[in-house]
């Protein structure tokens, strides 16, 4: 999916200095971007931050955007990168906290509590059986319907890696639906 003429014109306007054209350029993607970030982060506030940062990054680096690509997929790539960066940062912070609290009695911590509260929908619960990479690949390919090549590009990995993770994700999800979410299987 390539960018349409209106988008092309809006990009040219922004690059020529009419920055007010950026808002109509990204408005059609505001909700899909937030939904993507939500499925990747499993938390609304974090998804909002990821989307905001992704849009600001897109604004700053619009001059580097390759117009032969789909604008939507380019935005998705930036958002997925931002979500991954945050996930890594959080994981590092969590490790540091765990190291510091190793000798103390077990305590789930506000992070775990927050995550539990945020996991509301069955879809999100299903996705918890996946590793972060599998989740990224599955969400981009099956929910956002990027093809294998675009998914690989968005995640900065090879098509082989995408296929391996996608295969594993679909296998795990099939098992999860069969064992833990039979109502999804029955379409309820």
């Amino acid at each position: 999916m390539r960018m349409n003429e209106t988008e092309k014109e809006l990009v040219e306007m922004v690059l020529s200095g009419r920055t007010e054209a950026f808002e109509p350029l990204v408005t059609p993607y505001r909700q899909p971007l937030l939904a993507l970030a939500y499925r990747l982060t499993r938390n609304r506030e974090e998804a909002l931050e990821v989307t905001q940062e992704a849009l600001l990054r897109a604004f700053r680096s619009l001059a580097r955007y390759d117009v032969s690509r789909s604008f939507r997929n380019w935005l998705f790539q930036i958002a997925a990168n931002e979500a991954r960066d945050r996930h890594r940062k959080r994981a590092r912070e969590r490790t540091a906290v765990e190291d510091a609290a190793r000798d103390k009695p077990p305590f789930a911590g506000p992070e775990a509590g927050r995550e539990r509260r945020e996991i509301r929908s069955d879809i999100l619960q299903c996705l918890t059986v996946l590793s972060p990479r599998e989740r990224e690949v599955f969400v981009l390919r099956d929910f956002e319907e990027l093809d294998i090549k675009e998914t690989a590009r968005a995640l900065g990995c090879s098509s082989i890696s995408v296929r391996v993770n996608l295969s594993s994700a679909r296998r795990k999800l099939r098992e999860a639906i069969r064992n833990d979410f039979p109502h999804l299987k029955e379409g309820r």
Binding site: V14, L15, G17, R18, T19, E20, F22, E23, R30, Q31, L34, A35, Y38, R39, R44, A47, L48, Q52, L55, L56, F59, R60, L62, A63, S121, D122, I123, C126, R141, D142, F143, I148, R163, L166, S167, S168, R170, R171, L173, R174, I177, R178, L184, K185, G187
Partner: protein, 158 residues
């Protein structure tokens, strides 16, 4: 193709994500193997259920206030914003012009006062020390040289 090999790649076949060279082989196997056909059907069902559920699921949306706050950041004081032509030039150019202007101002003041060049340091009787002040046009740094008239610079030769 064996069932074992087919089952490995069924998840990709179910979503039409298999490489073309494997497609025909898997199709032939699945059409003739009830067990693999059943598994393929399960994959397709689980995928379509998840997609349908994802579409039906309510995902968060922006409040108008959040969106306005964000889009406001695309306007002023952001890189790429159209700025007056003189501000759009590189910073080093503006700094050079400013430095040259300050240098000229300093030179003008020096000429005006008539004190450019060596200055005699007044001492009792005949002045023996002369000073020379150099001012950098760019940084405003001043270097003052004091030259002693009576310095015996040929002393070593004697």
């Amino acid at each position: 193709m064996t069932c074992r090999k087919a089952k490995k790649i069924l998840p990709l076949y179910a979503g039409d994500d298999l490489r073309p060279r494997l497609l025909a082989a898997v199709r032939t196997h699945v059409d003739s193997c009830p067990a693999c056909w059943k598994e393929l059907t399960e994959y397709r069902e689980s995928m379509s259920r998840l997609k349908a559920a994802a579409k039906a699921e309510s995902v968060p949306d922006w409040s108008e206030g959040e969106w306005r706050a964000l889009t406001a950041r695309f306007r002023p004081a952001d890189p790429g914003e159209k700025r007056p032509a003189f501000l759009a030039r590189p910073r080093w150019a503006a700094a050079s012009v400013l430095g040259a202007f300050l240098g000229l101002a300093v030179l003008t003041m020096l000429f005006k006062d008539g004190n450019l060049g060596p200055r005699e340091t007044s001492t009792a009787g005949e002045p023996s020390v002369v000073s020379l002040t150099l001012v950098s046009q760019e940084t405003g740094l001043q270097v003052v040289w004091f030259l002693d008239k009576n310095f015996d610079w040929k002393g070593d030769e004697n």
